[in-house]
Symmetry: C2
Subunit: 366 residues, 2 copies
């Protein structure tokens, strides 16, 4: 086996996570919650790319407000040598990744991962990363295409064409969130994957592509990093310079435009845990189809997701409900409608209330 | 109009109120909650017998644990001169009422009232009291028969026979909580009322009846009162003597056995608010049939009772639910099943938990 270049994980810790209100808040977004395990989503992300034989310590790109929280999470995960790059404001994923790419040498392979997704089959994920690596070393931009399990309309899709290496395909096109009929067609065609927002490329390849398609962005981010304030493991890019960067996602800015873009289809038990319904689907159920977390006393209760991080919750004779309780807010709605959480958020937007705690600061979003 | 004897209200402040858990607790039973109005049930009870031209200040018979709470409630209600008789333990209603009867002279008319019922039409209630008074002055024991609005199986019933005065009937019999078919028959017959646990008699008549049917009880209670410790408005009957009293309800001990027992049928908007369903029925509803109290944000919500005395509650797309939230416990169940609260209580009995707070001390029960 030839000597392989080591990989630096780049963890994007952004997103306001309104869909998991009232548990997720601006102060504690989704990645810092223990949703599918005792570990937080952030810790699970760290854990899946921590093999010291293969990975260097991660670079975390985050909102400044979460710096302490992230250092605490890294410490709890036993990670030493991790770096934090603290964005002065959100400019979407393309500039966020550029910050990390400019912090390493151009040959470094970056594994870019959102911090708030779950991957049940880490071995499959790691295997997909290994399949992509030889192409990435030859200047390809790789993305991972999640094998779709349902015609989801909440995700972007990636269509693949011919294989260019074992298990790695050239990308035909990226497509936006489709309607249900279109998504159903995609599944029937069999050559579409979900776009999970996970990428592998060298820092140099990414920055070269950015220079080609978004020269202003790469210039602004470089000026910001050149003028950054460094405090131990924390890097604070210059605010004015970063503010001058266009805001764009990596998909729009680079992946949809570049020539050498590969997709690695992978079935790895992925979920973005994007709703309470998604969490119910992922959770371990009792014999009556319930998933409980926290102090829950259920009687004659079926197919419910009941979670409390605060008051004890007692349910009697209910079914197909989602109940999420915290010390200051309780949410109750039927299963299958958890996308409606945004209706509550919209209603509360007009009300200044601590239970919202969502809009004080926008964090980087995908 | 002849000079009428004044009436002393006797307010029985007992009952553990488990059916309104998690709002009612041992430390704050139902009578101290604001359920149907801004005033508590206790204050509403005080208010309906406070005409200074007709009523003397009340005697409250209560658990010692609630002495401070009751004095505070009387103060808030603007009552001066009220007396508290603080039972060392619960012995049901017959001894509780005997304590009050022994605290006044035998000619005093006592209006005995539970502290946790609601009466919408106080004028009808006061009118019924006036109808009963002349018979009571002649040695009758009077009870008030609530005009039944449904074949309830949770109440005792009183069958009446001939009128012995305008609007006052001799009692044929008291009957236990019937099954639904029997209750339906009672309503069809038209000569049955609900037993609301409200009584009018002189102290002497009551004690004479007790001496006849429960001589041990009246002796024990008298010894207890003779040896009581008095501290201002508070009377603490002697513990050992009171403990020696048999435990029995006034219905069993006296009303079902005495000869001169009258019932005053009255339609006065009475409810014992004995369940969350009962509270939903009594509450003011919005156009979608909901009754909300506290900070509730409802979207697409119909025919629900949602009350919070703690966290904000958000509901989306639910109907016919009861949701009761406090700082440490949240209850969720369908409307129509609120009698099932006892299932939660039974489940929690085995668990030492502050949210139960129900069994630290038994209070007097009806």
């Amino acid at each position: 086996m030839t000597e392989r270049r080591r990989i630096t994980p780049v963890i994007l810790s952004g997103g306001s996570g309104t869909r998991l209100w009232p548990l997720s808040r601006t102060s504690t977004p989704k990645q810092f919650l223990s949703l599918t395990a005792e570990s937080t989503m952030f810790q699970l992300t760290v854990d899946r790319a921590r093999d010291p034989a293969r990975f260097d310590p991660p670079i975390v790109v985050s909102n400044t407000a979460h710096a302490d929280l992230i250092e605490d999470q890294l410490k709890k995960a036993g990670i030493e040598g991790g770096q934090l790059i603290l964005e002065p404001m959100g400019r979407n994923t393309a500039p966020a990744i550029a910050l990390a790419a400019l912090a390493v040498d151009p040959e470094t392979i970056l594994l870019v991962m959102p911090s708030d997704h779950v991957i049940a089959n880490v071995a499959a994920f790691r295997d997909a990363v290994e399949r992509a690596t030889p192409l990435v070393e030859r200047g390809w931009l790789a993305t991972f295409g999640i094998t779709p399990s349902a015609p989801e309309t909440g995700y972007g899709y990636i269509q693949r064409s011919t294989a260019i290496a074992p298990g790695v395909h050239r990308v035909t096109r990226f497509v936006e969130k489709p309607d249900l009929a279109t998504a159903t067609d995609y599944l029937a065609q069999g050559d579409y994957s979900w776009n999970g927002g996970i990428f592998l490329f060298t820092a140099g390849t990414y920055l070269d592509a950015l220079r080609e398609f978004q020269p202003e962005m790469v210039e602004a981010v470089k000026r910001s990093m050149d003028a950054s304030y460094v405090d131990g493991a924390r890097t604070y890019p210059d605010t004015a310079a970063f503010a001058a960067s266009p805001s764009d996602s990596i998909d729009y800015a680079v992946m949809e435009k570049a020539a050498k873009v590969a997709v690695v289809p992978v079935d790895m038990g992925w979920s973005d845990v994007g709703s309470w319904d998604a969490l119910h689907a992922l959770a371990t159920h009792d014999a009556l189809g319930n998933a409980f977390q926290g102090e829950v006393h259920a009687i004659d209760t079926r197919n419910c997701l009941v979670r409390s991080d605060g008051p004890m919750v007692a349910t009697i004779g209910v079914s197909n409900l989602i109940v999420i309780a915290t010390d200051d807010a309780v949410l109750i709605m039927p299963r299958g409608e958890s996308q409606s959480v945004k209706k509550v958020i919209d209603k509360l937007k007009g009300i200044s209330h601590a239970t919202l705690d969502l809009f004080s600061r926008r964090t980087v979003g995908r």
